[in-house]
Amino acid sequence: MKMVSAAKLRRAQDAIIQMRPYARKLQELLQHIVQNYQGDAGRKYITKRPVEKVLIVVITSDRGLCGAYNANLIRLAKQLIAEKYAAQQAHGNVYVMPIGKKGYDHFVKYRFQVIPDHWRLFHELNFESVRQAAQTAVQGFLSHRWDVVELIYSEFKNAASQRLVVERFLPVEPAQAQQSQTHTNFLFEPNEDQLIEELIPKILNTQFFKAVLDAHASEHGARMTAMDKATENATEILKTLRISYNRARQAAITTELTEIVSGAAALKG
């Protein structure tokens, strides 16, 4: 089991590495566009509104046997709702979009308002399905179905440690415009406004994709650790079991020997 998870972890890590150049390039592109930009495009993704309705995206796993991985994520989600969005929850305005079967089962069972369309993401993990999930969140935000989107997932650091994070997905924190040394005069086609309008959703999709990939790698990391622990514990139990088995066997032999010896002694006498 540990070996299986280790192999899957490798693949999950590879996926993260593969998507990095794309994400980095996209960011670079945005920097290039905004360096001389004064306009107003993309405002709808940035503008904060009074928070009346909330969407919380919780990325859990499809399968268990990974220690406290899912329990921790779900606990964090509930804590967030209880502490930050208690008022909204009281009005029934907190929506949960679980991803992964474990989270889905839990939130359905406890009667949260669940957006059920995308919990099967890990069934067949690819960019297209993740994009659809991200778009649901974005479209809901734009159509005022919710005013804030929070993302809860486990960030992958290494196989042994994961960090649970709550990340604000929407509205977007406007990035600090970095002053790059090289000022290149780009031709913009069709124009900056439209480019930004096109670019922001793409960046959001990528951000969502990164979260899902991170969660996926974390899941396998957590499972690897859990299975390693399980093997260790089982070995220990096996050891004590063997000792008590041997003791019991020895006791039986001793008893039998005593009986034979004393029987023989009785016959002699």
Partner: protein, 91 residues
Amino acid sequence: MLLEIYTPERKVFEGEVYGVQMPGLDGLFEVLNGHAPLIAALAKGRVKILQHADQREVCFYQISGGFVEVLHNQATILAESAVAEPQAHSE
């Protein structure tokens, strides 16, 4: 010039090419060697890569829309999906 095509899942193409034709939002355009710096949004459609000036060696990628950046004689296409088309047909 150097052309690279990236998708979130992997790098799809990298290589020295003569030129590349792309579906811009306002219509098809072509980038050749030594093009001025450019950032453009791409529509869903077909990217045509010209390996040599004689236009005989071409290959196609179907993209779902995205962006292209041309800088320092290097073109980078970012698309959410890019699928190579089979080589069978030619212009």
